[in-house]
Structure formats: C-alpha cells, structure tokens
C-alpha cells in the first residue's frame, strides 16, 4: 500500500471535528492531532499537529500545499491540491459523525497539510509545540 508523508496541522477550533473525521475512516485514524501548538509554546493551543505516513487513498482526500522559498528566502506557495471534502463528508455520515458538509469544507480549508518535516512547517507558520510545564523533571 502506497503511503505519503504528510504534516497535518489543524486549528484548535476545528480539531475535534478533525479527530472525529479521521476516526471515522477506521482504527488507524484514531489518536491523531494530540500535540498542541501555539505561537509561544504556552497554553492555550491554537493548532494541533499530526505528522507521518498516511495511506495514499486517505492522503488524497485532504487538501495539500507545496511551499518553496523565493529568491528573497520568503515562503511562497507554488502548488496545491483541493482534496475531496465531499468524500470525507460521505464517510463521516456513514459512520455517524455529526457534522455538515460546510463544517467539513471549513475544516479542510483551514488545515495546513504539506510534505514538509513538522518543524519546518512550524517555523513557516510561526508555531511551536506546547510543552506541559514541569513534567519531565520530578
């Protein structure tokens, strides 16, 4: 089965629906978007990220963007794919996820999905991982 590497970042406002939509595609979709992000690394999270290999048939359903530096080192989007929100909505409906097509479209439209390594995507978006305070050293 072909797989694509993707870094998928969704907004905090859409993360619950995104999690439900992913889970509706099967057990492999469960547990996504558990890592919170924000501009300063502190709560509250403004975004959530999942990153890794996604089966190609699922990767094709999400819209993607391709970014490249211009001659001044500024990120510029050079390509994108629309994904298939209608197909995502259909599967969600089959699995009993409560949502509208417009909500699915909005979730996908506001997602940042690229083949970039996650920390490259974070830097481009001005985000960093929210680390719980004082949890590593007892």
């Amino acid at each position: 089965m072909a797989e694509n590497f993707l870094t998928l970042i969704v907004t905090a406002a859409h993360v619950n629906l995104a999690r439900n939509l992913a889970a509706s595609f099967g057990p492999g979709g469960a547990g996504m978007w558990t890592t919170p992000l924000s501009s300063d690394g502190a709560e509250p999270a403004t975004h959530y990220v999942s990153s890794g290999m996604l089966p190609a048939e699922f990767a094709d359903m999400v819209p993607t963007q391709t970014w490249q530096h211009d001659e001044d080192g500024v990120w510029t989007m050079i390509a994108s794919t629309p994904g298939n929100p209608a197909a995502v909505y259909y599967v969600a409906q089959q699995q009993g996820v409560q949502c509208t097509l417009e909500e699915v479209e909005d979730t996908l439209a506001t997602a940042d999905v690229t083949g970039q390594p996650p920390f490259t995507a974070f830097a481009r978006l001005g985000l960093q991982i929210v680390n719980p305070p004082d949890e590593v050293l007892p």
Binding site: M1, E3, F5, L6, T7, L8, P27, G28, G29, A30, G31, M32, T34, T35, V49, S50, S51, G52, M53, L54, P55, Q68, H69, D72, G73, P117, P118, F119, T120, A123, I129, N131, P132, P133, D134, E135, V136, L137, P138
Partner: protein, 496 residues
C-alpha cells in the same frame, strides 16, 4: 559431577569435571580463537560475537529492539506487513530478548519511520532537477549538460555546468533554503572536476551575507577563504582520482536559514560579491563538472561515508549508512504491553541522536516517571536544559544527567539500583559521577515501556533510536558485560 563432551579425531571424549569448566582466551577479543592440540588435529575454541540475547539467558525481563534488523519490524501494528526498506513506518518492532515485549503503534501517523538518511539535500547527482536553481549558468540542454561525463563512482552521471556570457555570478544553488540549527557545524561538499574553468567556490549564504572557500582544481588546494560575521568556516579538499576532488566547506552560522551554492570561478583568487561568491564576466562557453553534493551535520555519525547519494527525499543510498527509527517530535511513539520485572535493578543501553534540546522521552517505564513509583525514565534533554537525564525510582527519585547540547549522537548506558541507591548514566563510555540519592524501597513495578513519548501524550522525542536494550535484574551487570553491550550498541549507532 558434570561431563564435557569433546569430539576429536572423530571420537567423542567425555571429560568429567567436578565444577564449571572454563576456557579462558587471555588477551583475546571477539572473534579471536586458539587451537588446542588434541590427537593429530586440534580443538579450536573461538570467542563468539557478543549478542544482547546473552543478557536475558537467566530469564531476565526486559526488551531488546534492533532497528538494523528489518525482519524484526512491521509497518502495521498487527505484524501483517513487514518492513522491507527504509522510509517505511514502523508499527511493530519485535522484542529480540525472548520475553515477547513487542512495541507497537496503532495510529499510522504516530509511527516512527525507519530511516538511514544523512544527506540533507535532494537530487545530489541531478543538478538539472528543480531542487537546484541556476543563476548565470546556461540551462541544461542549452549549454549545460546533464550526465556529461564519468563521475567518481564510475557512472555517467556527472553534470557539466557552463557559465553564461556576461553577468556577475555563475552559480548552482539549492532552490529551498535550509533550516539550520544556529551555532552548529554542518558540512557542505561537492565533487568537482576542472573543465575549461579550473577553480570553484563552495559557498553558504543568506540573502546578503555568506562565506566561501575557493579551490584550485588543478593542484587540489584551497586558495582563498572568505568569511563573514555570521559564519565560522573551515575547508578540505580530497582527491577522488581522475581529476575529481571532493571540495568541502564546514560551517556554523548565527542565522537559522541558509542556501548552499557551487560557484564557477574564473580565478583561484576571484573578486567577490557581498555574500562571498566569485563575480566575473563569463564567456558563455567555459565551465566545470560537478557531482555528488552532500549537506549534513558535522557530528552525524563517525563511521559513515562522506557522501550519500540521494534523489527524492525517500530515495537514497543506504550502503554503509546506519539505520535508525526516526521520531518526529510531534506524535510518534511505540509502547509495549505490561512488563512485570519483580526486581529492583535495571540496565538500559540506548543508541540515540537528539535533534534539538526540547524535552523528549527516549524510554520511560510507566506512563509517567514523576507520577509512578517503581519506574525509570531516560530522556534526551529535559526541562532543565541541554542534557541526557536518567531517573530511577523505588519510592523516591534519584536523578543523574550528562550535559551535552543537541544535536548529538550518543550511546547511553543507564543503570538503576533501587536498594543500592545508585543511579548512573554515561555517554559514549565517558565517566560520569553517579547519584547515590535514596531511591526508597521496593522493586520496579508492572508497567508498559513507552518509547519516544511520555504516556503517548507528551514529551515527544525529536530524534533517532538506533538500538535499545532494557534489562531488569536482581543483580547488577559486571563491567565486562556492560562494556560488551555498550560496544554492541555503538556498532549500531556510530557515536564514537
């Protein structure tokens, strides 16, 4: 009374021994052998290669994970789809200790990826690919020629780059800037051969600043070093035969993004642009040959080749390059089922690389060391800074750490002894004072082992694991066994 059966000259000889019989090979190492004359032949005793399996021969609980053994890994968590190549996700890795404590990950995007990539560039032998841009160089097919001549590896994959007429710079550079760790050494190199131009500059730059070294491709020497405030550099040039040289620029930067560049030069001491590129009026016909560009962190492995062929990011040469599980620092982790040691000592051997000094779990026994008695944690960096940290706990915690900044590759040996109140952590076999803080009472309790994350929910590892051995025991390992296990892990890691 025991009997040792020895077969010699086709006859079996039973040797009665009153106690354990040992045959000592003095001043020997793994693989050494001696021949003991018997009859008209000899009995050969060979020191066998060490295997971590030997650490579990008395039924000790624990795990042994070996990412270099592809047959021990599956892409899915059920074990139905084997891992067959690098750049495949690992959903299940078998425990080779014999204890059956396999580690899995059910969520596909949260699986670490088996990887052996060290070259940060793409299309290292295809300068006509969109990953590279030309400025002041004729387009491929219109003056520059892909696959124009024999490369150092004997293939016809070396490109000819030809300067334009006029202009100032005549360069080939990465289309996308690199994200760099500041004040960290990288090595950018390229194989270059003189054409009608006999000098080249290897350069690193931001928009307005840069540093470079100019190399003479006839004498094989560096002839001009051009620095700037933002960059600290050094260089080397190595003959590859047949007129080819690997020209290398080692640099560290105070800025976090940069482009790397191969610059045709009209002179071994050229006039330069503000960002240290040769500038001259080209003739529209002169050029040189380039092949095999490589950019990597300078401390990334001490035993691997200096050049790694790579096309697309997932298509690269793996021969001689040590494989590892890459944890992305966002959501990757593996977890075992519950382990029940019933003892109060643990030894942990880990080959790791940390990419950044953000707190990340290498291995943790239980879902949270701070919250659970009878547990341990091994972390790459911590809330307290640039270190590796090991904590061992009965009913009280004992912490020991080694200070070293990321990025770093290390063989970590951690030992915890609850009743002995000893916690020890070494990096790359260097002595480090242990902790004798009270660890309270009790044994290591029954928990899962988390790899790459605390409880699967936080403190994500941004780095690599080359090998992991965790051994719970009633007795400590002797120094020889520790040294053997450490050496074995280092063969897989290439840390020192």
């Amino acid at each position: 009374m025991s009997v040792l059966q020895v077969t010699s000259c086709g006859r079996q000889i039973d040797l009665a021994v009153a106690q354990d019989l040992s045959i000592t090979l003095e001043d020997s190492g793994i693989g050494d052998s001696i021949a003991i004359p018997v009859c008209d032949g000899s009995l050969t005793v060979t020191a066998e290669d060490f295997s971590p399996f030997s650490l579990f021969q008395s039924g000790e609980q624990g795990v042994w994970f070996d990412p270099s053994d592809f047959s021990s890994m599956s892409q899915d968590d059920a074990g139905a789809t084997p891992v067959t190549a690098v750049e495949q996700a690992v959903g299940r890795i078998l425990d080779k200790s014999g204890r059956g404590n396999h580690a899995t990950q059910a969520t596909p995007t949260a699986r670490p990826i088996l990887r052996a990539r060290y070259n940060l560039l793409t299309y290292s032998e295809q300068f006509n690919n969109a990953a590279w841009s030309l400025f002041g160089v004729l387009a491929f097919g219109s003056g520059s020629t892909a696959n124009a001549t024999t490369a150092p590896d004997g293939t016809s994959t070396a490109d000819l780059i030809t300067e334009t007429a006029g202009g100032g710079q005549h360069i080939v550079f990465n289309t996308t800037n690199h994200s760099l760790a500041i004040n960290t050494q990288y090595v950018f190199s390229c194989a270059v051969k003189a054409g009608t131009r006999t000098a080249v500059a290897i350069q690193v730059n931001t928009v307005t600043n840069g540093a470079s070294v100019v190399f003479d491709l006839l004498t094989g020497t560096a002839t001009q070093t051009n620095t700037s405030v933002e960059y600290t550099i050094s260089s080397s040039i190595t003959s590859l035969g047949n007129g080819w040289y690997r020209c290398s620029l080692t640099f560290s930067s105070t800025v976090s993004t940069a482009s790397t560049c191969v610059c045709i030069s009209n002179s071994t001491t050229p006039a330069l642009t503000a960002n240290k590129r040769p500038t001259y009026s080209g003739d529209g016909t002169s050029g040189l040959y380039i092949w095999g560009a490589d950019l990597r962190l300078a401390n990334d492995g001490v035993v691997i080749p200096v050049y790694q062929r790579i096309a697309a990011a997932t298509d690269y040469d793996t021969s001689g390059f040590l494989p590892y599980l890459a944890f992305d620092g966002t959501d990757d982790f593996l977890v075992t089922g519950a382990v029940t040691p019933g003892v109060d000592k643990v030894q942990v051997f880990a080959g790791v690389r940390k990419n950044a000094d953000v707190a990340g779990i290498i291995a943790e026994y239980s879902s949270s060391y701070p919250l659970n008695n009878g547990s341990f944690q091994l972390t790459a960096a911590s809330a307290s800074g640039s270190n590796y940290l090991f904590g061992s706990k009965g009913t009280a915690s004992s912490i020991v750490q080694v200070t070293i900044a990321a990025p770093d590759t290390a063989v970590l040996v951690a030992t915890g002894d609850i009743s002995g109140d000893r916690a020890e952590l070494t990096r790359n076999s260097a002595t480090n004072p242990p902790s004798s803080s009270d660890q309270g009472t009790g044994n290591f309790l029954a928990y899962q082992i988390y790899i790459g994350s605390r409880g699967g929910t936080s403190t994500r590892l941004n780095g690599r694991i080359y090998g992991l051995i965790i051994r719970f025991s009633a007795a400590n390992l002797d120094a020889s066994a520790i040294a053997n296990a450490e050496r074995w892990i280092n063969v897989k890691t290439g840390a020192y």
